[in-house]
């Protein structure tokens, strides 16, 4: 038993990470010398009772979400069953600073953030790796559906789409560095979700039938507008005044709105105006507090710009490349030509116009099954 085979598994109390832990603790045994030593870690990221009673947020936190006591309990029960050491690590301050606060700020500036990617970049694959090394584990494992492997020819770590494309989480992992990829195991990458549940049953995990979590872990009931108001209230801040005009693409004022953070590009409901044909949010101009609405056809865009780029299978983007681009979690990647843009940006020109390119979301570039890299949509 040497230090190099000690693996820290990030355990959320869900089926995926629990099964990942079970597989590492019980299956990848190898010989006695190379046997894995597995340590379970749960990151305590957010106190689910923190905003209760504020601005209509329910008193009782719901079960089945990240960091609820129920989930920590479930994770601990799995660790007990697997007979591995298990610890809860508090990262609440860092999570608030690097994920929650930027999430709120993005909405207030008319953008639509993805907290999961921020969490992966700043917490799971950064802080967790540091904590893991502190306890003598050189590698971490998570329950993400993704594949990583080293390509000696390119001398790079490659991130690839998993066996179960319906569960593909590579979109949220585009920010991983070479160092992080080298130190991470994705034990579920070659499995489908049904196979994962089957493995969970095989290992007798009592949470094998636990439903998947879908919502943003720190937003109770999924109402992010309510969350933003309650959070700012708790911070002793007033929600910035971002109410303004609702206009058409021609600049015609057709109504007023209560604040830019209530909108996301492509949104149809809750616009507060009636119209003969359906209206959608086309653009949000936070500076002028203007929300532009229009017909579905006006949502189509041929070009996007992405910034804060991270490259995985290439060192940098030297010239134009044919890629597929994914612009939101549930988007079918679309063909585009990618080329370097100004000031560390990249520009993707789609073959076919894409609906609702949304500032604040990630644009992830795929070369076949490989994640070339990605960035944040400007």
């Amino acid at each position: 038993m040497t230090q190099s085979t000690k693996i820290a598994v990030a355990m959320s109390g869900g089926v995926d990470s629990s099964t990942a832990a079970a597989i590492l603790a019980r299956e990848n045994c190898g010989s006695a010398e190379t046997r894995n030593t597995v340590v379970g870690l749960t990151l305590q990221l957010w106190d689910q009772t923190r905003l209760k009673g504020k601005h209509g947020i329910a008193d009782a936190p719901r079960a089945g979400r990240c960091c609820s006591l129920d989930d920590v309990y479930d994770a601990r029960r799995v660790a007990e069953q697997l007979d591995i050491p298990y610890y809860v690590v508090n990262q609440e301050e860092r999570f608030e600073r690097d994920v929650v606060r930027p999430f709120v700020n993005e909405y207030l500036t008319g953008r639509t953030p993805i907290p999961c990617s921020l969490c992966n970049n700043h917490i799971k694959f950064d802080q967790l790796l540091k904590t893991a090394r502190c306890v003598g584990a050189e590698r971490i494992a998570t329950g993400h559906y993704a594949v990583n492997e080293y390509d000696p020819a390119r001398r790079r770590w490659i991130l690839k789409r998993p066996a179960d494309l319906a569960k593909d989480q590579t979109y949220f992992l585009f920010g991983l560095t070479q160092e992080q990829l080298a130190r991470t195991l994705f034990p579920l990458g070659h499995m489908t979700k049904p196979q994962v549940r089957e493995a969970a049953r095989k290992h007798g995990l009592m949470l094998a039938e636990k439903p998947d979590s879908q919502e943003i872990c720190f937003v109770p009931g999924g109402d992010y507008k309510q969350f933003i108001t309650a959070y700012l209230e708790e911070q002793g801040e007033t929600t910035p005044e971002t109410a303004g005009e609702l206009v058409t693409a021609n600049g015609e004022v057709i109504g007023r709105h209560a604040g830019v953070h209530n909108f996301t590009v492509g949104q149809r409901k809750g616009l507060g105006v009636s119209s003969a044909s359906p209206l959608y949010v086309i653009n949000i101009d936070a500076g002028r507090r203007r929300v532009t609405v229009g017909a579905d056809a006006e949502l189509a865009t041929r070009t996007l710009r992405a910034r804060y780029l991270n490259w995985i299978s290439i060192a940098e983007l030297a010239g134009p490349m044919r890629v597929k681009v994914k612009i939101r979690h549930r988007h079918e990647p679309a063909w585009a030509t990618l080329e370097p843009g100004e000031s560390d940006e990249a520009v993707a020109n789609f073959d076919e116009p894409q609906r609702a390119v949304t500032p604040g979301q990630a644009a992830v570039f795929y070369d076949g099954d490989e994640v070339l890299g990605g960035g944040w949509i400007v």
């Binding site: 920590v72 600073r97 502190c134 306890v135 003598g136």
Partner: protein
């Protein structure tokens, strides 16, 4: 791997004598102490003998001993049982959550709560208590102060506070959970009306404790039902637990007399000397009088949580803050009240020796800790700085 348990302030194992004393009361002498028949009488006798031991421990009458489920119940009973809307509650910002959360609830119920802060050495100044009592005017006042702090081991000047409370006609409760069994103990000298202790902090069983309630104290019971414990605490007596507590306090009294605590103090000294040889370390509360078994050490440039985990995986059990936060670590409210910032509080660890600790235990700790600290500091030199 030989493990060293150095977290006695969280809990302690039973001494063999305690286990032996309790053993007959699970299966053979299982009676209900309230029953009339022989089985009941045997259980009653065991409870009465334990009460006698507790009375000797507290230095009070047997009728002034109330058995309960432990320290939290004792603290809650004293606070909820005395205070009513409009009263004044004075306590300190370094108390256990069993007192502080009860104070929160009292505040919600229109009791005026005053929290007294400690000095940077972790000591409560009795004059601050006097000043707080001055704010009471004619209101009924309860003062609650701990005998020894669970995180730093600092002994509070309860005798002086007791004198001040007595002069002012205030009720005085001592949370003695951490001090009991480690120092000379006498409720008459402390001049308190109530005092709470817990068995499992002194090599007794978990889930049982006792409270001294001075005769004539208008304490309303927290738990009502049958007429157990002179109607002060309802519920069938936990006979094996009470027997274990009785034996544990006897052993504790003997341990204070036979030089055990001096031996532990010497071991604590060796431990501190060894750890303080690591650069960037200091003792929190080290200049105040302390119980013999506890030392709380600030390791600069370190995340205490990571060190606790690393040490655990290397066979050393210690604690970061207090252990009562559902497995997750918050920065210690005690250390923050002493003026440490969040990073320094998070970078602090508590070592608390068992009465059965040996030189070998301390040697093993000192073989592991310096190396682990060096390793962690090399990995994350920025950790303590970038947090928060």
């Amino acid at each position: 791997m030989r493990r060293v348990y150095c977290d006695a302030n969280a809990t302690t194992p039973l001494l063999p004598e305690v286990m032996a004393a309790m053993r007959p009361y699970w299966m053979e002498e299982f009676g209900n102490a309230s029953s009339i028949h022989l089985q009941g009488q045997k259980a009653r006798k065991a409870v009465d003998y334990a009460r006698e031991a507790l009375a000797g421990f507290f230095h009070c009458r047997e009728a002034e001993v109330v058995f309960n489920s432990g320290g939290t119940e004792g603290d809650n009973t004293a606070i909820f049982g005395i205070l009513r809307a409009g009263d004044h509650f004075i306590t300190t910002s370094i108390e256990h959550s069993a007192v502080l959360r009860a104070a929160d609830r009292m505040a919600e119920r229109r009791v005026d709560v005053t929290l007294v802060a400690p000095s940077k050495d972790g000591l409560i100044d009795p004059e601050e208590i006097r000043r707080a009592i001055g704010l009471s005017e004619s209101r009924r006042t309860l003062v609650s102060v701990m005998l020894a702090n669970n995180e730093t081991g600092v002994l509070q000047p309860v005798e002086e506070i007791g004198r001040i409370a007595e002069e002012a006609g205030a009720y005085f409760h001592i949370d003695a959970v951490q001090g009991a069994g480690k120092v000379e103990f006498d409720v008459r000298r402390f001049r308190c009306h109530m005092c709470s202790i817990s068995a499992h902090k002194m090599h007794g069983p978990k889930g049982v404790g006792a409270m001294y309630v001075r005769r004539g104290t208008p304490l309303e019971p927290l738990i009502v039902g049958g007429s157990h414990e002179r109607r002060q605490r309802a519920g069938t007596e936990n006979v094996p637990g009470i027997v274990g507590l009785g034996k544990a306090v006897e052993m504790a009294m003997a341990g204070i007399e036979d030089g055990t605590m001096e031996r532990i103090a010497q071991l604590r000294g060796q431990l501190e000397t060894g750890i303080l040889a690591i650069p960037g370390t200091r003792v929190n509360g080290g200049r105040a009088p302390r119980v013999a078994n506890t030392t709380n050490i600030h390791f600069e440039q370190l995340e205490g949580e990571a060190l606790v985990i690393a040490l655990d995986l290397k066979g050393i059990a210690v604690s970061g803050g207090s252990a009562c936060h559902s497995g997750s670590t918050e920065p210690s409210h005690v250390l923050m009240a002493m003026g440490l910032d969040k990073n320094a509080a998070r970078a602090s660890l508590r070592f608390s020796l068992l009465k059965t600790a040996t030189d070998e235990d301390v040697d093993q700790i000192l073989r592991v800790v310096p190396e682990a600290v060096k390793h962690l500091r090399a990995l994350a030199p920025e950790a303590a700085v970038t947090l928060g």
